[in-house]
């Protein structure tokens, strides 16, 4: 319960998007795909970039998050991108009319079934 609360707090504070050791833009750049961003813009969708932290290896974190993201309503599964370096990050395009970025990240975390997973919103594009 306490860990869940920590996770939610991390999500709640994500507006500040404070990076840990590496610039936010650097993390964003790791999964930036111009095609995804351009398509999202044309479809009035939003691309969400988020950092992943937890007890697993970077590979485990990103693969779990990728699987979980594919189950979240509103996320375009073809747009999901992950990177393990320089830090684990995930990005995806979402239709904001289905649900907000924050709600989608909470749903992603629930689907991931990893109680140690913490997700920090880094940036929304466009």
């Amino acid at each position: 319960m306490r860990r869940q609360a920590c996770g939610l707090i991390a999500l709640a504070l994500s507006g500040a998007a404070s990076a840990c050791g590496v610039c936010i833009e650097d993390k964003v750049a790791a999964t930036y795909d111009h095609g995804v961003v351009s398509r999202a813009q044309a479809e009035h969708h939003v691309v969400v970039f988020a950092a992943l932290e937890g007890s697993g290896t970077p590979g485990t974190l990103t693969s779990n998050a990728r699987r979980a993201a594919a189950k979240v309503r509103g996320i375009d599964s073809a747009s999901i991108r992950t990177a393990q370096e320089p830090n684990p990050v995930i990005s995806f395009a979402i239709d904001p009319r289905v649900q907000s970025a924050g709600a989608a990240l909470q749903a992603l975390r629930m689907h991931a079934k990893d109680r140690t997973l913490r997700i920090t919103l880094l940036r929304l594009m466009p």
């Binding site: 650097d26 993390k27 930036y32």
Partner: protein, 553 residues
């Protein structure tokens, strides 16, 4: 808005910190003073190194600009030329320092196809639309006003073969700024602007710092910034050139795309991580200054601003035929060495080297790690010569028209690096035979056996024995792989079909129309420093984001 005290401490506190800081500097200051160089010809003598207490201390931190304004990010994109600013030099010949304390510099990022070696078209990422990026020249205390638009989403007319648009950034080693502010990555279409003041003299690298940094640098996003001492250099020279060594890690495009019939090469991620480059070059070009030597005259004093970009290997920079009178490590005259034969430079390491041209001749610049030299880190300073007839012993040869077949290209480059000391193609016999029309004299199986194991052939093969009897020098075993042998044979076959014998110059030019000249393609003119003068690039209707492959889909 943050409270004022957070942004700027009260003056009294600042003054106290300054006093404490200076006291600490005094305690740490070296006790010995450095004498100025004995034979300085012009300019002021360097001040005593490390004497923080003196009023003219050039390293007085309290006089440095350490409070740059925040960077500004916008969605207004630059159009027109990709590089602008009077402080920029677009090639190796460095322009003198321009007057004025404020220097406005614009370097936009682009994705374009460059030619690393004859016939080797590489999908590069650039600053200012060239690799390396333009040379920036300023001096300590200048105000640099920098701006950059990420224009990686613009493409040249024709088939889209460049990499997908991506985020980029700029990291100036010459600046003292918060990297998370000034060096942040920007998306295609965004523009970042920031200012800084160079506080230390030096020869500094600039590069893209966006992850994966290794890939961004290996793809061509680097350049050099020269920061002169506030009072100029203490010596006077006749020539100034910037030499930028870097590595390329190439592989054939997995999609087998071609540029005007020539195979496209892309970054080989495995080679990058293994630190196994395919080319190590000066100023972005295999044997570039062999093709177009730098000029000097006998008796002149030459200053080279040398930067080893890497991204991963070192350089042992040497100029054959002279000795570095002065070496200023990292480009700072206070870091002076005298009478050096080579200067060792790690990745992003630099030096200013000065030397005198003793007599007319071709002075070969080389990375004395000769494995690097054989990959193209060769250049020539032609002093009182045309630079055409060069000494093959140092593996320096002018570039010629290139085969369009990738296998033959590799054979050509290998031949020109390793074989010209003993052989020519249509240039006459040397220690060994002229290999012109060798594929007509010998069949491929014989050539393969000969290249693979000449010592065995010399024992049993009649033709091989005849060759030894005629030339007296046995062909050495070069330990070639089967693939390398195929490349040599492919080149010999191409040469026999395309070379036109014209005197003894090596290598011989190709027959008209059989190959593209180096540095040129049908759709992309050769590296024209400065700008891609194509007005369509400024037409927003022609900008388009290419489909992105997405490395981690």
């Amino acid at each position: 808005m943050a409270p004022r005290w957070r942004a700027r401490p009260p003056a009294a506190v600042a003054a106290l910190l300054l006093v404490l800081g200076l006291s600490a500097c005094d305690r740490n200051a070296p006790t010995q003073a450095t004498d100025p160089p004995a034979s300085v010809t012009t300019g002021p003598a360097p001040a005593a190194a490390g004497s923080a207490a003196t009023t003219d201390d050039r390293y007085d931190v309290s006089k440095m600009d350490l409070k740059p304004a925040p960077a500004v990010l916008s969605s207004e994109r630059h159009t027109g030329a990709f590089a602008q600013g009077s402080a920029l030099s677009m090639d190796a010949a460095v322009k003198p320092l321009v007057a004025g304390q404020v220097k406005e510099i614009r370097l936009d990022t682009t994705h374009k196809i460059i030619e690393i070696a004859p016939g080797v078209k590489f999908s590069a990422w650039t600053f200012g639309d060239q690799v390396p990026g333009p040379v920036i020249r300023a001096r300590v205390g200048d105000r640099i006003k920098f701006s950059m638009t990420n224009r990686s989403d613009e493409h040249v007319p024709g088939v889209q073969v460049t990499a997908a648009p991506m985020m980029h950034s700029m990291d100036f080693h010459a600046a003292m700024v918060a990297p998370n502010d000034k060096y942040r990555s920007i998306a295609p279409g965004q523009t970042i602007s920031f200012e800084f003041t160079p506080n230390y003299p030096g020869v500094y690298m600039y590069h893209c710092g966006t992850p994966m940094v290794l890939e961004h640098i290996a793809s061509g996003m680097y350049g050099v910034m020269i920061v002169e001492p506030r009072d100029g250099y203490p010596t006077k020279v006749d020539r100034e050139y910037a030499i930028i060594q870097s590595e390329f890690y190439t592989k054939l495009d997995p999609q087998k795309r071609k540029i005007d019939g020539v195979p496209l090469y892309v970054l080989d991620g495995d080679r990058v991580r293994a630190k196994a480059p395919t080319y190590t070059v000066f100023n972005g070009r295999y044997n570039g200054f062999v093709d177009k030597p730098l000029e000097a005259k006998p008796g002149e004093r030459v200053r080279l601003f040398v930067l080893n970009v890497g991204p991963s290997n070192t350089s042992s920079f040497h100029v054959v035929g002279t000795i570095f009178d002065r070496v200023w490590l990292d480009g700072n005259p206070d870091n002076q060495l005298r009478g050096m034969q080579t200067v060792l430079l790690g990745s992003s390491g630099s030096a200013i080297v000065e030397f005198v041209i003793p007599e007319a001749g071709n002075y070969v610049m080389v990375d004395h790690h000769f494995a690097n030299a054989s990959q193209g880190a060769i250049g020539v300073i032609a002093a009182g010569t045309t630079g055409g007839a060069l000494d093959a012993e140092h593996h320096n040869i002018p570039a010629t028209a290139a085969p369009t077949d990738a296998v033959a290209v590799r054979g050509k480059l290998a031949f020109e690096s390793k074989c010209l000391a003993c052989h020519t193609i249509a240039g006459g016999d040397k220690l060994g035979p002229d290999l012109y029309e060798v594929t007509k004299r010998r069949d491929e199986a014989w050539l393969t056996r000969w290249l693979k194991s000449p010592e065995h052939m010399l024992q049993a093969d009649a033709t091989a024995k005849q060759l030894l009897e005629k030339y007296k020098v046995p062909m050495p075993n070069q330990n070639l792989s089967d693939q390398e042998i195929r490349e040599y044979v492919a080149y010999f076959r191409w040469a026999d079909a395309n070379i036109v014998r014209q005197g003894s110059i090596q290598p011989q030019p190709a027959a008209p129309g059989t190959a593209l000249p180096p540095g040129r393609t049908l759709s992309a003119p050769g590296p024209a420093p400065g700008a891609r003068e194509d007005q369509s690039l400024t037409d927003t209707s022609k900008r388009a984001g290419a489909p992105s492959p997405g490395a981690n889909k």
